[in-house]
Amino acid sequence: MQPTHFSRQILLPANHRFIALTLVVALLFNMLPMGRMVGIPDWVALVLVFWCIHQPMKIGMGVAFFLGLFMDVVDGSVMGQHPMAYVLMAFAAGEFSKRILWFRLSMQMLHVVVLLLGMQGVMLMVRMMGGGDFPGVLWFLGSLTAVALWYPLTYLLLLPQYQPVERDDTRPI
């Protein structure tokens, strides 16, 4: 496993527990009482799309569904709104994972922003059909701030995998 497919660096296999931990932390971040502040990213969606791209064999639509269910209760939105959007996003991210990882980070961002905006688009569609009111164009700003964090997020979430298996000070690499 490499950070990107053209990278020379070889990563450790991802730890299940670490992935779960990051998703739980993202959930806690989403629980923060931000009210109607604009530009607050959907942390769960961001971390989820990250793992769907980097570990498509481990994280996929099943996890996305249950995270979405949880987010519906946290947000007080209609049941099924988040699962729907997250599942579609996870599917697309998993499908495009092989392609996306061939790009460098700045180009990856362009892919991810489309995934996140698509996810918000699905939510918007679902809620408008259910009779909700339009939250305004600024609502989409959340995805842009989320994708702006792609650089630090990639570094942070891959950090445990950068560590060598055994500590050896005489190793050449």
Binding site: L32, G35, R36, S77, V78, M79, G80, D133
Partner: protein, 266 residues
């Protein structure tokens, strides 16, 4: 997975059968959510403590003025209540039950961007039930729409799905006040030549059997009389601090005298 989501959506939107899932998850995660909210609350406490003397003084002045302005009403209330009771007794009408209220605190506003709701600190353990109306010190805020054991959800007046029957204070005209979803309200279905002026105060008329009559709800801000449309476009702004955080009063369920007691003839 996608189709499962669709089933969930239909079950919740159309048949409202998933409330128990919501209640279970909400109750299980309640301690966690309180823990997450602690830093935010600590932050707001800190900023409260750092509030300058000046703003506190000005707030104090405003409150004193409001107190003096309403003092004569309070002083005369006992007298008026007694008079009212006598008059009602004269009319042989069933006495209106005094409605008790429970004070609750607004904890946070719901993150869902498609509606306007807040969570308050009292739930079914305190006897809150769905349908109770909620007011703050200035006017109506909204209605309880969901109840959890330790908290309940209030849909604000400004929500698109909320409608309140109101009365114009100046001339007694009855209308329906609805949210616009943008933080404002509108008076719906009134003809273009209707007698409403900017600055008019709207009070609840109590016709819905939910809100007590006479609670201030909104103020008319602007009126657009467009001849091409059937109805006037009347924008209103809520009177109460709807989008602010603070203490609210959850009023008890209003008891409506049943039809038989109203129509008894001697």
């Amino acid at each position: 997975m996608g189709s499962l989501s669709v089933i969930l959506l239909v079950a919740d939107l159309r048949f409202h059968t998933l409330e128990w899932v919501r209640t279970v998850v909400m109750t299980m995660t309640w301690p966690l959510r309180r823990a997450v909210h602690l830093p935010a609350e600590a932050g707001s406490e800190l900023s409260k403590n750092l509030t300058s003397l000046l703003s506190l003084q000005s707030e104090n002045k405003v409150l004193q003025q409001r107190q003096v302005a309403s003092a004569h009403l309070l002083l005369r209330q006992k007298h008026l209540e007694q008079e009212n009771r006598q008059l009602r007794a004269l009319l042989e009408m069933k006495e209106r039950q005094p409605v008790e209220g429970k004070i609750a605190e607004i904890l946070y506003s719901v993150r869902d961007s498609f509606s306007r709701r807040v969570i308050v600190s009292k739930g079914s353990q305190e006897g809150i039930v769905v349908g109770q109306s909620v007011v703050d010190d200035i006017g109506v805020i909204g209605q309880v729409t969901r109840v959890f054991p330790m908290a309940s959800e209030i849909t604000l007046l400004t929500d698109k799905e909320q409608a309140v029957p109101v009365q114009v204070e100046r001339n007694g005209l009855r209308a329906v006040l609805g949210g616009m979803g943008t933080g404002n309200l509108e008076l719906r279905f009134l003809a273009t030549n209707v007698d409403v002026q900017p600055g008019d105060i709207l009070m609840t008329s109590g016709l819905d059997g939910v809100y007590l009559p006479g609670l201030p709800a909104a103020k008319v801000e602007s009126i657009e009389r467009d001849n091409s449309s059937t109805f006037a476009r009347i924008r209103c702004i809520p009177l109460s601090g709807i989008e602010r955080h603070g203490l609210v009063l959850i009023l008890g369920i209003r008891q409506i005298p049943s039809l038989s007691t109203l129509t008894t003839t001697p």
